[in-house]
């Protein structure tokens, strides 16, 4: 491994992110300029009295939408157009989804409800840390991908209703 190349990857990543983000901005501006009609006006942000809000804003139903495919939809798709609901569960919670089928393809999957409990019941040997912090509460757990199983179940359940007879 070339030691002269130390500490490059973080800098490279920052450059990559900036390049992609600003290319995206430029594309959006071009698209907006091409549209007839009023420009989007931003309502003046009325700041509340200085209370750093302790209340996280509620995440609206998450849209995991796929861009419509450029290819023509096959007329013999297994799915009938419409919107279908499904629910999946894992031992850590449940997820309900709403799946939209258009022209035989999945065009949108929205999470309509999600309940999860963070796995904080046991802390495996944390020398010094637990004593110092006296707390097992965490905001997030990294490496935990348990919720995707429930999501997959929910989508499959919705799709099973969409299958043409």
């Amino acid at each position: 491994m070339a030691r002269t190349r130390s500490r490059r990857m973080v800098a490279l990543s920052s450059a990559a992110i900036a390049a992609v983000y600003f290319a995206g901005l430029a594309a959006t501006r071009e698209a907006a300029a091409g549209l007839a009609g009023g420009a989007a006006t931003s309502a003046p942000l009325s700041r509340a009295a200085p209370q750093p809000s302790a209340t996280p804003t509620v995440v609206p139903p998450i849209q995991a939408s796929r861009t419509a495919s450029s290819g023509a939809a096959t007329s013999s798709s297994r799915y009938a157009d419409g919107t279908y609901s499904g629910t999946g569960t894992s031992r850590f919670g449940s997820i309900s989804v709403s799946v939209t089928i258009q022209s035989g393809r999945i065009t949108n999957v929205a999470i309509t409800r999600a309940t999860t409990s963070f796995p904080v019941s046991r802390i495996a040997s944390l020398p010094g840390q637990v004593v110092a912090r006296q707390s097992a509460q965490v905001d997030r757990v990294t490496g935990a991908t348990y919720s995707s199983q429930a999501f997959r179940q929910a989508v499959q359940q919705a799709l099973s209703q969409a299958v043409r007879a």
Binding site: M1, S6, A16, P52, V138, D139, T142, G143
Partner: protein, 292 residues
């Protein structure tokens, strides 16, 4: 992308503007998937396979994701290699998460390819596959999407974006404290093995427990040099200023193993927690000073 995305914003700003920004942030995940998904035959990266041997104009998104992945491959001598995709397909990691359809790229199963078989032209923004190969950007795409989404939320002092166990945390949580992130114990899904307090950092984890073959014999973190799953480590968690770097370096360090992996992270100036298959925890020297 087979992940659930959650975005939490802590802000006194009006809810409307916060929700609008969250929607824009979420939009980046879809864009990244359109460009980089190995499982969608219509994605931009999969289209490269139709034009082997010629320079193909690439979107900034695909180009930068590929450039970062290939640079990391060169940096790690191939321990990390995004051309490992066809090996993953053969092992069964080829199912699209929504449709369940399996993808089968037309590549000879004994093909011996490496990151050196992909050429990038920064001036023309083109990608050339010198040989048929599957470009697997899974190790960097999620991180990149998180960073782009975070960019959309730059107006807010505090937020946390999480996508399937990888995250970026800015500022402080709802209680005014640095975001407290637990590192999942690789062998006990209900337990946390390490605690991190982070602010303005990405935290990404590669673990052997995330995706496994149908017979549970192997996981998806393959050593490109041998074609077999890397075994010495159970998980690597990287803390870095960007999720793109954290995501890629976590995967690379996992393959490199405890000693070389730790060295890679230290040389690159990032922090990390490496948990061996035996359950031992190793950390970079800077981790205890993580609280900002």
């Amino acid at each position: 992308m087979d992940t659930v995305i959650s975005i939490e914003v802590v802000s006194p700003q009006p809810q409307d503007s916060v929700h609008a920004a969250i929607q824009r942030a979420l939009g980046w995940f879809a864009r990244v998937e359109r460009a980089c998904s190995r499982f969608d035959p219509t994605s931009e990266v999969q289209q490269l396979l139709r034009r082997v041997g010629e320079p193909v104009p690439a979107s900034p998104l695909l180009f930068e994701a590929a450039r970062f992945a290939l640079t990391l491959a060169a940096r790690t001598g191939g321990a990390f290699d995004p051309t490992v995709g066809h090996v993953l397909e053969r092992k069964g990691f080829n199912r699209h998460y929504l449709s369940g359809e399996r993808i089968r790229s037309p590549i000879p199963t004994d093909a011996s390819v490496s990151y050196r078989d992909v050429w990038l032209d920064p001036k023309q923004s083109t990608i050339t596959l010198r040989r048929p190969l599957v470009l697997d950007l899974g190790a960097v795409a999620k991180g990149l999407a998180i960073d782009l989404a975070a960019r959309e939320l730059a107006a807010f002092d505090s937020f946390c974006i999480e996508a399937g166990g990888d995250l970026y945390a800015r500022g402080r949580n709802g209680s005014g404290q640095p975001w407290r992130i637990g590192v999942r114990d690789p062998r006990h899904p209900e337990a946390v093995a390490y605690l991190l307090d982070v602010s303005d950092r990405a935290v990404c984890t590669s673990g052997d427990y995330e995706r496994r073959t149908a017979d549970d014999s192997e996981h998806h973190l393959v050593d490109p040099r041998t074609g077999r799953a890397a075994r010495a480590l159970a998980s690597v968690t990287v803390v870095a200023p960007t999720a793109l770097a954290a995501d890629g370096l976590a995967t690379a360090a996992f393959v490199l193993g405890p000693r070389r992996g730790l060295r890679l992270l230290t040389e690159e100036g990032v922090d990390g927690v490496l948990i061996t298959s035996a359950g031992a925890v190793r950390t970079t020297p800077g981790l205890r000073r993580n609280t900002r």
